[in-house]
């Protein structure tokens, strides 16, 4: 009976990234600056009140920065100043550089290209059989759902040669979620050390990147970067399955060229939209 039921709705699986996917394109990323000129006109105090996690800052008058690695996607800045801030659109919110998540980016696309080139070099041997291991270092539980979603028939990452493995000894990529709970530091480090080379670490979610809204806390280390060396930083509270998939492909140098600019495109405001889902 289940075999027949399995045929009922045809193929549900996305073809992304080989083919466009409307839902992937509509993915809501972190907040981005739409208009630097308008942003410059807001006072420093005004900027602080726009963000509960202090992701928006102004290093000098007229230069407003959004740290997407701190953004918890609450949308307060966008609701208050839709002329200045918007959502970065599309799943490509991950970056190979923590500094590049601060937008508009100081880091030039050239240096980002170098980072992704190095990553590609390191992961060349993995080819199309990549094993993933996940460790929760103090998440709220939602990141686990979005990672698990990659196994449902809509995303089905097996089609891309990616598999989850129970043993860190078989794992190539470590997906770390959570704000870096201190109690998980030792188990996380041991898991990382048990993995063979070459190995990569993806910090999945704003909590893992910067500690999120639960940090600072006596019980977290403000993100997982101080516990294990992170190669890919993926903000989001939580990041959607397409964003996680996109981060995995970025790690493997398998993102299609059109999207290779990644968060830089969003930071320039080209890909940012006012209020799309």
């Amino acid at each position: 009976m289940w075999a027949l039921r399995g045929l009922r709705n045809g193929v549900l699986t996305t073809r992304w990234p080989d083919r466009p996917d409307d839902y992937a394109a509509a993915t809501r990323g972190p907040a981005a600056v739409l208009s630097e000129a308008e942003a410059g006109a807001i006072s420093a105090a005004g900027l602080t009140s726009l963000c509960p996690v202090a992701a928006i800052s102004q290093d000098q008058p007229g230069s407003v920065r959004v740290d997407q690695g701190r953004c918890i996607q609450c949308g307060r800045c966008i609701a208050a100043r839709p002329d200045v801030f918007g959502w970065a659109a599309g799943p490509q919110s991950a970056s190979g550089s923590r500094a590049a998540l601060v937008v508009p980016a100081d880091e030039t696309p050239a240096s980002l290209t170098a980072v992704s080139g190095q990553l590609r070099e390191r992961t060349r041997a993995l080819r199309r059989s990549v094993h993933l291991r996940h460790v929760d270092a103090g998440s709220d539980g939602s990141e686990e759902w979005e990672i698990m979603a990659l196994l449902n028939p809509v995303y089905d990452i097996h089609r891309l040669g990616m598999f989850f493995t129970a043993s860190p000894r078989h794992a190539d990529i470590l997906l770390v979620t959570g704000s870096g709970a201190r109690g998980m530091a030792a188990p996380l480090r041991e898991t990382y050390e048990a993995m063979p080379h070459p190995k990569l670490v993806i910090a999945v979610g704003t909590d893992a990147v910067s500690g999120g809204i639960v940090s600072p806390s006596y019980a977290t280390s403000g993100g997982v970067g101080s516990v294990v060396p992170v190669d890919i930083w993926l903000p989001g509270s939580p990041p959607s399955p397409f964003a996680i998939l996109s981060a995995l492909l970025l790690a493997l140098g398998r993102l299609p060229a059109a999207g290779s600019a990644g968060p830089a495109a969003a930071s320039a405001g080209h890909a940012a939209t006012g209020d799309r889902q």
Partner: protein, 495 residues
Amino acid sequence: MSSRAEHDVAAGIPALWDRLDGEVAAGRRLADLFGTATSGGLLLSAQLAGPGGISTLDALVPPGRASYPALTPRIGAAFWYEREIHDLFGIVPEGHPRLEPLILPTSAFRRPEPGTAGAPVAIEPDPGILPRHTTGPGLFTIPHGPVRSGVVESLEYLVETPGEDIPHVNMRIFYKHRGIEKRFEGMAPGDGVLLAERTEGIASVAHALAYCQAIETIAGAEVPWAAALIRVLHAELERLACHLDVIVRLADGAGLAVATARFGWHKELVLRLTGQLSGSRFGRGVVVPGGVSSAPRTDPADMLAAIGSLERQITADVRLLMGTASFLDRLRRTGPLLPERASEHGALGPIGRASGVRDDARQARPYAAYGSLGTAVTSRPEGDALARLEVRTDEIADSFHLLRQAVDELTETGAGPIRTACEPADGRAVGWAEAPQGEVLYDVRIENALIRRCRSRSASFHNLVLMHEVFAGDILTDFPFIEASFGLSVGGVAG
């Protein structure tokens, strides 16, 4: 939405315990027990749930006292609560049967003491903090976690076994303690909801609801009717997603590949519908103090069509699943929670209702728009993993009913206000909501327009301790089914 009861602080701890004993004997439920550091000493607060509301009873442990008589020997449900209080404040409940660390991975540091000003020092985990309990010839312990197979939250089960049977399971939940309650302190009430949503991420809407209702009670704010309906809409979508997640895990445990894929797809569609309505797949940012942030961004006809299509697909697959004998055999008589134990502990949510405890906050203590929508509360007497699944499938059917009612009502109400001013003055109040996992409770105290203390008690915390009770006669291969049938979130347990 919340009620404040009398405070009888002066009478002291023994008088409070006598009072609780009497109330529990009269059929009320000990719903929470927690501490707050105050200038007058440690304030212990107990929440009692009953039809119509939650009442709070407080008592002070005078300053300088290092201990108080434990409540656990009189009311067993206080077992984890008193260990938690010991972890956070260092005070000893005398006569507690097993006072080991619960939510903090260490004991060698200055305690966080929620309620006091200032940030506690960072903790240094101690790997040898918990002794193992294994005794007896041929008995050994399988340490299972905190990094476990699959994509799951961190938690360590210590499975004590002579080989196949599981006479006892122990849990270490402190690995992912994040210090949430301390983090609330000093936040503006409007920011606190963002943290509440991230306390237990798969029940974001329920946590936001319980938190906001506490804030609204303090502020005396009346939530507009349309906002109350939108709150129900999101709370029920969250329930669908969580219950479908439990089914995915159960089907996966039984190796039903097609069922796993089908229910995984249904869950994805529910999350996408939630995202379509609100912009967040978890409904985050919708519930705010005073109402909701925005109306659903889909028109009612499209919402009804999406809900109807989901209902048809899910109902058909549930019917097939509940007729799959090889699957049901894995659940029947697996992980039974005896009705006496469930009622004694006051088991919450589907776990309680599968063991005959007919309590559902949506019906017993209505909030949002539930009072006028009518919730059907289902329960089962068996108490096994199958009963817990049956309760959830009934609730899925009822959620669709509530979703349709909420959308219809929303259409009739038309474009009205969805948010009212909510500026809480100094005060304290309790808010609650029925999360998919069971009742969530928030006790919030505001001072000088900032949060002074925020107690957040998830259903997961209250229920997880029952894992100690359900392994009678079960073997190692039953473990995944029992864990999945509990359907709890570690994030909500560890705090």
